[in-house]
Subunit: 275 residues, 2 copies
């Protein structure tokens, strides 16, 4: 199975792919999220891993937007703790470092490390794992990178310090997307996007379709719609079997929504992965 990720081999998306889909996957690196979605749509990848929510930074609206606008379906999810590692060339020591490269978001998550090591300059790279690959190719022993432990293993770097992120409660939830819908058999979670007129009570009424059937709402998020000030967009995850009461609730919801799109039904990841 070919699995697309944004970034280079060794990215956190790669780690998430191995955890969700097993060690036998063939990774297809994509340089941007646009390319990642294209890889799935064109068939260059059978599945793609898309980060959708982070415990510190919240939902990743950009990727919800890309998903809503694409013909792809969610077929699975996986949660991953983001553990940033300082990776040097073999034999390197922290005391000898002058420059540390990584993706801007990873650098921002390791503020305390740079505050404690004020002589080390933080340098932007376009990818966490790519910064390890470049380091191992021709970097000096005074340079290091910040990336996953997987990146150190893949490129032969040495983990000089593990877990240098400021806040260890840093989890990312990834969605697994495919061209075809997943089987309803075994699917325990359904993600949907719908819009409602922005009037008192419309959301309460919409949730009533689930509540009266005992269908549990696992996530809800509202978002103002650009240029349509009287409508709201909702991202909702519901639990249950779409072949039963949940399916009835969705059909009823469709009658009151200005628009509704079911993004996919899939097996819910075990809670402890993410929460």
């Amino acid at each position: 199975m070919r699995v697309g990720i944004q970034g280079e081999r060794g990215a956190f998306s790669h780690e998430a792919a191995l955890r969700a889909l097993g060690d036998a996957v063939e990774i297809v690196p994509c340089e941007s999220f646009e390319r990642l979605f294209e890889a799935a749509a064109s068939g260059r990848a059978d599945r793609v891993m898309v980060p959708i929510e982070n415990s510190l930074h919240g939902s990743i609206h950009e990727n919800y937007d890309r998903l809503s606008g694409s013909p792809l379906h969610i077929v699975g999810e996986v949660g991953l703790r983001v553990r940033q590692c300082l990776i040097g060339r073999p034999g390197a020591e922290i005391s000898g470092l002058t420059r540390v490269a990584s993706h801007p978001v990873a650098l921002a998550q390791c503020r305390l490390f740079f505050a404690e090591h004020s002589r080390i300059e933080a340098v932007v790279a376009y990818d966490t794992a790519g910064s390890v690959r470049d380091l191992m190719r021709d970097g000096p022993p005074t340079s290091a990178a910040i990336a996953s432990v997987l990146a150190a293993e893949l490129y032969g770097g040495q983990v000089l310090e593990a877990g240098i992120e400021d806040d260890p409660q840093n989890y990312t939830r990834f969605l697994i997307l495919a061209r075809a819908e997943g089987p309803l058999e075994g699917a325990t979670k359904t993600s949907l996007v719908f819009t409602l007129k922005h009037e008192p009570g419309t959301l309460h009424r919409a949730l009533g379709f689930f509540a009266v059937r005992g269908v549990d709402v696992a996530k809800i998020e509202s978002r103002p719609l650009r240029g349509r000030p009287f409508e709201y967009l909702f991202y909702v995850d519901v639990l249950g079997d779409r072949r039963g009461a949940l399916g009835d609730a969705l059909r009823e919801l469709e009658t009151v929504s200005a628009s509704l799109r079911i993004l996919g039904s899939y097996p819910a990841a075990a809670r402890p992965d993410y929460a």
Copy 2:
């Protein structure tokens, strides 16, 4: 009025403070969000500006957490378009640049600029505006920074290109916090955080207290609670006058919530600012 911001003078928070509170404010720069909340709690600042939501990146959970854990109150809000500018020393030209410094998040928002100018190295700084200040102090003409137009004005830099962010639909909503609650007179929006048992129908029932009274929900977001797998946390903004039906709804909600905290009641910003 002394207004605390995270970052240096010229940060986007500074721009938000001027827009919301007028040009006469005295800015109190704070190096971190922890210091910013302390500045308000200790009285070193009368108000502080806290980014809470971005149109691309979603809600900033970290700041919701800080707010929930603090004794401060929301007394206002303001939305701001984040317009990143390339700022050089007077007389500098883009064709002569070799290094551009900024905060990691700003650099990440300008990926296309760096892709088009592949000979320019992106360098991490701890602050957008601080990178302009440093540039103007002793930077070479081959260096530039990415920050707000306000930073260019304050430090005497020259805007070489305005609006270099990849996605112009980049808005941030800031909350204005103070030690004392704001007046209920004129307050049209109330923000609250509450927890519910994670059972089918609990959310529907909670929203019913608002729906039956015609109280409009302007924002809702659920979040799993760490270490408490059967409870959910909700961030909700409701519209209306707390001295009327909204106050009754809140008192009823309190009877079914495991916990409820009203973060503040304040005048809602005009919609076009943010959406």
